[in-house]
Subunit: 308 residues, 2 copies
């Protein structure tokens, strides 16, 4: 059974959408990534930090999915990272109302002994210095290192981010971030430039418009599943990343052909995430449901045309 | 050899993009549709109107592609429809600077005898009263009637448009127009509602984000080809429609399976159209080039994943 180590935030989220709102609920990049990856029967662990206010039952939820939480430091007199956001009517844009870093402000990640030989490493969206620290604590390079990041780090900690980007295999960012990072409007050109920064594989997430996978001169596209209702997009990008790395970790196969399946898997998992508020759908989602929906992705994309 | 009748504008366009600008060049929906469909070795004809200022060499260009122009009325003392537009830096949005309807203002379409038994009918974007007149001039219903329209007709002539929509088989519109026509934000729900208005098949064009084909409970997605450079998006939607109906007219097959191939074909043709200003790329595009690029669409979308 392959090991997957995930670094990222574990947080409280408060979410407003046109369909309702939540109080503080379980959130964070590492939470969504790990819940998504946990569907693939691998051994995963989280490196993160929370405050004394973080409920024990949340740890139990994660542990019940075979997600190791020994690497989640608890600062008893601190408070857990809190994010509050409000989505606009189209659900494609949102305003951040509150970002309380709290214990995340001084986070020094510690990789548990048990995960120092991890086969796969997923660096969730977080300060690049934290991501770099985790890379440096792993003595033997994992088979594949995947980075997710965002425009905030490009704006504020670009030098540190570029050092991390130079050390990874796969980067997942959205289309606007790819443009910002590369200075290129065309996503094809953006991916070419980003590949020269380090990662051989560039995954550009386009939300409801799907995701592109670039490697060398090759490109593959995974659509998002057209849905009747999108309830809450929170965590969809992290869930995509979890479905991507989870699929790869299960198979152990890092070929381009398998990465194609992995981006379909990411898109598949993300399509469930948005069906309910927060982590709700991901918590009760079964492997059987995931496999069934794969058929919809096949029907959506596969065609038989004669090449002459 | 199947016959395809195309009704739509034949026009002068003046285009400004970040890469340059043109004087008055050949444009119009019927022009792009017919050039695109002409790649499929069918017998096509245009119903339209131009002024005495329309150059003979443009007719010759079309005729050289086996496009019959007998249905293009020439109003000798009138002027050809003229559109001038300027694209913004991202090429996704544009401002219309000039729209001179000219001879189009009082257009009474006349279907040539030779096309009254047309196998396929493509109603390009135009006043719905003109589209309806063409439908009514064809005594035996064609195998497939495809309609392209836009928000302008929804805003200004909705009742007439709805009468046309009730009589057609396939509608092609963009995502915002699908939302406007249906009052639904979700494209899945929008397509369901639009199918109840008449057309069994709904094609929703999303520009650089590809196109969705809906029929009954089924959905298929054709991506746009990720391109290094988009030079001029003018006519891409019409070229898509031409590649769609041209493919179907060549094969004579109106099954859902074949319509999947047809939307891929439309997306394929559109990917060429945007490579040069105006109709330039479509004029010299060969069938061999089209077939070669189909392989890129296969590589872009096809994956082999085990369904358990």
């Amino acid at each position: 059974m392959n090991k997957l180590l995930i670094v990222g935030t574990v947080a409280f989220d408060a979410i407003e959408t046109p369909f309702g709102q939540t109080d503080k609920i379980l959130g964070g990049a590492a939470t969504y990534i790990s819940l998504s990856a946990s569907k693939f029967g691998i051994k995963s662990g989280i490196v993160s930090v929370v405050g004394g206010d973080f409920p024990k039952e949340y740890f139990e939820k994660l542990n019940a999915k075979n997600i190791n939480t020994d690497g989640i430091e608890i600062i008893e007199d601190g408070k857990t990272f809190f994010w509050k956001g409000k989505y606009h009517n189209d659900l494609n844009t949102r305003d951040t109302l509150i970002t309380d870093l709290n214990v995340l402000a001084d986070f020094n990640p510690v990789v548990p002994e048990e995960f120092k030989d991890t086969d796969f490493l997923m660096l969730g969206n977080l300060h690049p210095a934290v991501q770099m620290s985790v890379i440096q604590q792993i003595p033997v390079r994992p088979k594949l290192v995947v980075l997710d990041t965002m425009n905030f780090w490009m704006d504020n900690t670009l030098d540190e981010l570029m050092e991390v980007i130079a050390k990874i295999d796969v980067i997942t960012i959205n289309d606007e971030e790819a443009r910002q990072l590369s200075g290129e409007y065309s996503l094809v050109k953006a991916a070419q430039k980003i590949q020269k920064m380090g990662p051989k594989y560039v995954v550009i997430k386009k939300g409801e418009h799907g995701a592109l996978l670039f490697n060398d001169g090759k490109v593959f596209f995974a659509p998002a599943l057209p849905l009747e209702e999108v309830f809450d997009p929170t965590g969809a990008g992290d869930t995509f990343a979890g479905g991507f790395i989870g699929y790869i970790a299960k198979s152990g196969d890092i070929s381009f052909e398998n990465m194609k399946r992995a981006v379909i898997s990411g898109s598949n998992l993300a399509s469930f995430c948005v069906e309910k508020f927060g982590t709700e759908r991901m918590e009760n989602l079964t492997y059987d449901e995931i496999q069934k929906r794969l058929l919809q992705f096949k029907l959506l994309t596969q065609f038989d045309i004669e090449l002459t």
